[in-house]
Symmetry: C2
Subunit: 332 residues, 2 copies
DNA sequence: CCTCTTTCTGAAAGCGATTACAAGGGTTCA
DNA sequence: TGAACCCTTGTAATCGCTTTCAGAAAGAGG
């Protein structure tokens, strides 16, 4: 079932059918109708591979993210997709599940598909792969990783500032023993968050102590990280989590242990995902404007009228502390 | 950057490069090395469009789902993808956000990409579109919608049974005034769930009453549906939700109104998503084996050694009641 | 009725791979 | 030494579409 079959049935050439399909408006309307009828009759669907091969362009954006289960990523994807659709593009998502081999596969898939632009929102990323993307010349937006380059834009979050806000908030409430719950991710932002955490605490001198634990970026992971933390003997009065999803996992573990939040232990999240308002108690967290990130990415990737896809830009986003129910004065 | 460039640099023909890329093992190893080097030097990535055009096959599965934000869908996707990868396929996801136009676009995209198989897990679906898929000859698995056909398989959930279990459970606890929270979805399973709900209640005679409310399939939607329900004057002692996500939204609204769950109001979910264990109180819900659905779909779609993709099969899944904390005796 | 534009349509050359078929170069063996 | 093979590599057709360029059809004007 191809163009030729349609052409034959409509009694025209393949060129004309192609023009009809692409809304090139030079086709006489009677011819167009005939072609449309043939298309419908044959239940014809153009082969998109052939199309983008012949056309050379793809009107498809790629997006690679770590974990669609965490609505932080989903929210970015959602707005990116909406913006892309609005501009006549569609988007291809790939989930790495934080696995480097999936990331590499994903990148190659995207390059192989010759996407018109690529958004990479992952926490694991080695330099070799960044180089590969860079050499592919595909306009790319990295979130939180990667170095700026000719076709590359960067959107970063000022984590340190976020962590400082949350630590200051808690320290002000009298907390001195902190726990940090992160997820596995050898390098990059997570450890940056952890580093920021450790260094910020250091400013308060020896009177404050801390412990850390890591697990997978899931509800279960948050829970089991909390278990490790609490079973370690060190008993924190405040637990700072790398994101809201894991924080909700932590909340559950505390509930099971009959530890009250925030009376016995304070808990904080990061991202300000919807769930953080729906859990009980509602999470104190840091707001990251995911819709802004998504639409920014779309803007950078899709050539707006006239100008081609924006070369490189760098944007840094400042997290905002949102205080809710999960933090309170340290127990005396 | 194409095969020819690589071929030239390696001093061989495009055929040989292609053979190297496809692991056809007739290539002499010294030649292979030369080619590999050229590939690396040039940062060459094969054009997948050209490849699948020439090859005729695609080793890509498509999946269309309503709402990736609801982890019910995500969980199915996750296992489908894992199984597909295992078999050497990758999967393309499309999110319809419950919008018929997105569904239609998605279906056409999948057909246009000539996916090797298609899994459709959505609650909105008109017959015309089903026909379109059917005529495309692409092996397809529908979840909960669609009629069996030559290339079509169906996986269904026995909703009525699920609803009956939950209603019986609640009725046994003394509840007589029920609320039902669903999401918008003109036809299909949702309304089937609602119908099942209404008809099941009818069996108990006039002593039981009910009201329904619908909103979007999100935490917010659950909350605002609960608002409508509670503001309507009818005050249910039990609220049955179409799924866990919305149920968590309902829990929040009840909490805001200082209604205790389950002392004042009982709440149930559907799906037994991870979140249902992590919210407070933990949800009584119906378990749907999403991993089984995902791997079943993969099995049906990917031609296993020898046999081609399974023609048509029909599987019905029985939900299982999981009683947790959110249901209890009706207030007296 | 004929010529000149203006529209519309068709023929054919790619796009970048795969793959059937053919051919070249070594070995082996009589 | 030459025939018969095997192993490797190359040639060229093909996949289904887009697009340029040129030619046919249709109006316009005299």
């Amino acid at each position: 079932m191809n163009l030729e079959a349609v052409a034959k049935r409509a009694g025209v050439s393949t060129a004309t059918v192609s023009r009809v399909l692409n809304n090139v408006d030079v086709v006489k309307s009677v011819t167009r109708d005939r072609v449309m009828k043939a298309i419908a009759d044959l239940n014809y669907h153009p082969n998109l591979h052939a199309r983008s091969l012949a056309g050379g362009k793809s009107r498809t954006l790629g997006m690679i993210l770590s974990n669609m289960e965490n609505s932080f990523f989903f929210d970015i994807y959602r707005t990116l997709e909406a913006e892309a659709n609005f501009r006549g593009y569609d988007v291809l998502v790939i989930n790495t599940h934080y696995r480097p081999e999936h990331l590499a596969r994903g990148v190659r898939l995207m390059i192989g598909r010759r996407v018109a632009g690529l958004a990479v929102v992952v926490s694991e990323m080695d330099d070799e792969l960044i180089g590969e993307i860079e050499r592919s010349r595909i306009p790319t937006v990295f979130y939180d990783v990667g170095t700026p380059g000719p076709h590359i834009s960067n959107i970063r979050v000022h984590y340190r500032s976020g962590i400082e806000q949350v630590v200051n908030h808690l320290h002000g409430l009298g907390h001195r023993r902190f726990g940090f719950v992160g997820h596995h991710s050898a390098l990059g932002p997570t450890s940056e968050r952890e580093r920021a955490f450790v260094e910020t605490l250091a400013q308060y001198g020896p009177s404050v102590g801390y412990a850390t634990a890591a697990d997978e970026d899931r509800l279960d992971g948050g829970r089991s990280a909390a278990q490790k933390l609490l079973d370690s003997g060190f008993s924190p009065t405040a637990i700072i989590c790398v994101n809201d999803l894991m924080a909700v996992g932590v909340l559950r573990e505390l509930r099971e242990r009959k530890l009250r939040v925030p009376e016995d232990v304070s808990v904080t999240g990061f991202d300000n995902v919807k769930l953080s308002e729906y859990c009980s108690p509602q999470l104190t967290t840091l707001h990251i404007p995911r819709d802004r990130i998504g639409s920014l990415a779309a803007e950078l990737l899709v050539p707006t009228e006239g100008k081609s896809a924006l070369a490189h830009a760098e944007v840094t986003i400042e997290p905002e502390l949102v205080v809710r129910e999960s933090t309170g004065p340290a127990p005396s």
